[in-house]
Symmetry: C2
Subunit: 441 residues, 2 copies
């Protein structure tokens, strides 16, 4: 399998990662006189802002993912490969991947971010991340498995543990997930699990700082907390997790919450490839880049989006890890790469902040568009409209729209299936057989 993919005559731009930034860059290089090679470990682009709806049974995974080959249908100068990238060899202008060695003239790291457990291995092992489709599906399975297990749990302590759902991290993902769980409890669980006392189901949202949605306006912060209270979520501010063994969550202040389901949305870190100068990795595991996204100390390696830290006075830790920042950087980098190849002057990046929004539940969302801030029903429709429009692909827009309209009228969430049971222990052959389910089901 060890192959070598040498360059052709045109300059080759290798892009690692088919997220928002990577695909924007690749698209803008269409019809340019370069060879573009896009690499991703998946054969699809993931619309991460809606992963929480997959995890809570509101949407099918296939409706928020889009085949990368289809995005680039007809783009003649682009080659796509499904592969893991192992290492960068900057001296040789080549990368080591699971399909072989790939040469580049310009390398763009659009590798995104992954959950940050801040070095706490036990929590990392036991808590559930939600940054990819397989992770979201695992979480969906776990939530449903724990509800099934609660139905037959004879021990009241075990029952409590199975029915306590804890979301750690009060950013947009945490707020949206806690809200979705609360709606699942309110509208679905009481019908699906008549044997359960629905009041025994508890949803906790744990946030280390004094407020939720730290990056948003005070109105949005307060209103989202109000919305979550209305939905019955227990918000714990100024609370920090010290340990989680899979059964008991411990907070720094000594409190304990028995829980089998801890969802980790407390932070992300950039995915940095091996072989790069470790001194250029700054806060949040991001690569320090200059105003044209060139990684500090390199002449032909770029980083953009979540993995890039373009440090400015306004953004001392780099730009926020949101889709618009990655898209804007990808768009400009396409232009600048062509400028560099054609030996023209480059243009520095300027971030256009599109505002922020988060949805808590039906008719309950918060929107900050700079000075314009609103919350409630209209904010909720705005949130849905913006997400629908940003979703890649007409089929996906259609299926998500159908699901949302259907959910709106039925108060239901349609896709609560345990397609692959989630098993924490990943060691024995028997469990492997269940996880694979290749021959047995």
């Amino acid at each position: 399998m060890e192959q070598h993919f040498p360059k052709g005559n045109k300059p080759r731009i290798v892009i690692v990662g088919g997220g928002f930034g990577g695909i924007e860059l690749a698209k803008k290089l269409r019809n340019k006189n370069v060879d573009v090679m896009l690499l991703d470990k998946h054969n699809y682009h993931t619309f991460q802002p809606l992963l929480y709806q997959v995890a809570t049974g509101g949407l099918e995974a296939d409706s928020i993912a889009f085949p990368l080959r289809k995005i680039f249908k007809g783009q003649k100068n682009l080659t796509f490969r499904v592969t893991e990238v192992h290492k960068v060899d900057a001296a040789e202008n080549t990368i080591e991947t699971s399909i072989g060695m790939i040469d580049y003239d310009h390398l763009v790291l659009a590798t995104g971010s992954t959950s940050n457990f801040f070095g706490q291995a036990e929590i990392e092992y036991n808590a559930m991340p939600m940054k990819s489709i397989p992770e979201a599906l695992n979480l969906r399975s776990l939530i449903l498995q724990n509800l099934e297990a609660a139905q037959i749990a004879a021990d009241p302590l075990l029952r409590a543990q199975l029915l306590n759902f804890v979301v750690v991290g009060g950013g947009p993902t945490g707020v949206e997930t806690a809200g979705a769980l609360a709606e699942l409890k309110k509208h679905v669980l009481k019908n699906d699990y008549p044997e359960l006392n629905i009041d025994d189901v508890n949803i906790y949202l744990i946030e280390g700082s004094p407020e939720l949605l730290g990056a948003m306006s005070v109105q949005a912060q307060q209103k989202s907390a109000d919305f979550l209270h209305e939905l019955g979520v227990t918000i714990m501010n100024n609370a920090r997790v010290s340990a989680y063994d899979g059964a008991m969550l411990s907070l720094v202040d000594g409190q304990h919450i028995p829980s089998s389901t801890v969802i980790w949305s407390a932070g992300v870190k950039g995915v940095v490839l091996d072989g790069l100068n470790a001194e250029k990795v700054v806060r949040g595991n991001r690569l320090k880049v200059n105003e044209i996204n060139l990684v500090d100390g390199y002449t032909n390696i770029y980083a953009l989006g979540d993995v890039a830290a373009m440090i400015t006075d306004e953004f001392p830790n780099g730009h926020p890890g949101v889709a618009p920042a990655a898209i804007q950087q990808g768009k400009l980098l396409a232009k600048n790469l062509m400028n560099i190849i054609e030996k023209k002057p480059t243009e520095p990046f300027k971030y256009f902040d599109k505002g922020a929004m988060a949805t808590v539940g039906r008719n309950r969302a918060v929107v900050d568009l700079h000075k314009i801030r609103f919350q409630g029903v209209f904010a909720w429709f705005t949130w849905m409209f913006v997400h629908l429009m940003t979703l890649v692909g007409f089929r996906n827009k259609l299926v998500v729209f159908v699901n949302w309209v259907w959910s709106y009228f039925s108060y239901d969430r349609g896709t609560r299936l345990i397609i692959r049971p989630f098993l924490k222990e990943k060691s024995t052959d028997e469990e492997l057989a269940v996880q694979n389910e290749t021959k047995t089901s």
Copy 2:
């Protein structure tokens, strides 16, 4: 975890399996003076007739599955449990399951069928079955993985192997799968994989008897073969597989086809639980039942649908393994169980044959409704209408309908995602880690 679930005051009917027969029986027992306990290893009902569309990227898995708890929402006399059933202890009127011992007064086996490899272990290990949602998703992943691998295969023999897709078995599932693969090749692959020569992609349909769709009319048989020819499928009749090692398929007549993707739809066998009298297991691994679906030799154990063989002059091997037979048996059994409990006379089963149909591709289907037989566009719309109407749940109908309409106009198939890579070797930790993808993606 070893619990015991004793009966209450009312007679308890335990139903194993939430397929067409099991859910029909359970529904018809609504508001009757019995306790119904429905067991299934999944928390959802699978609409098996459309599994091949999931495997070929036409539909999302969630649109052909329906949560069992939702089907029985509000049915107060029904308890549902997700569990594997290990063994029947008929002497004690109890079953051993993964959640504990469950007592019954009447036991109904609606366990369905699984792929039949006729004892050929090597073929069973290497060929892909398609009888459940995880299996269909594994097949989807494998097809897409092999196309990706073909893009970078330097060895022409390996490329040929990766691009030959073989369907074994020319019944409705085999015909529909071969047709769907041919349409995938025609409309999707040439856009998605511009580096491939699409003529190198071959689809074979292998059938042991002289004709396809053996159970249908001669018109349907001939027309479906014509349709498949039009779509470029190579049909091999009177051909039997002798071996398949994962790379080379061998036929009894000495021919060989290099292929990495062999889809097995050559037969099914009933899923019979341990503990039952092996002498009552007849052809097709079905349980011999009498005219009220009582298993021969037992007084309170019933079997219905695919796992039951009600042998009559007209049906010397039992009824066909199709949804209507299971549904009709489930419906009557509900009535007869109440008759038995209330000590009234029972009513013998009479099968109403609803006809048969199969779709080959866009505008190409064959329908036999007794004397009325038609093929082509109208048959295709009939097929779609009947399947849409039979699908459980309004949301599912809606999502499938949206997908079909969208595919009709776009000539596309929307869900070609490798969500979990399929790995044949299931032994090493590394592969396990990829398969689980819990923490890594």
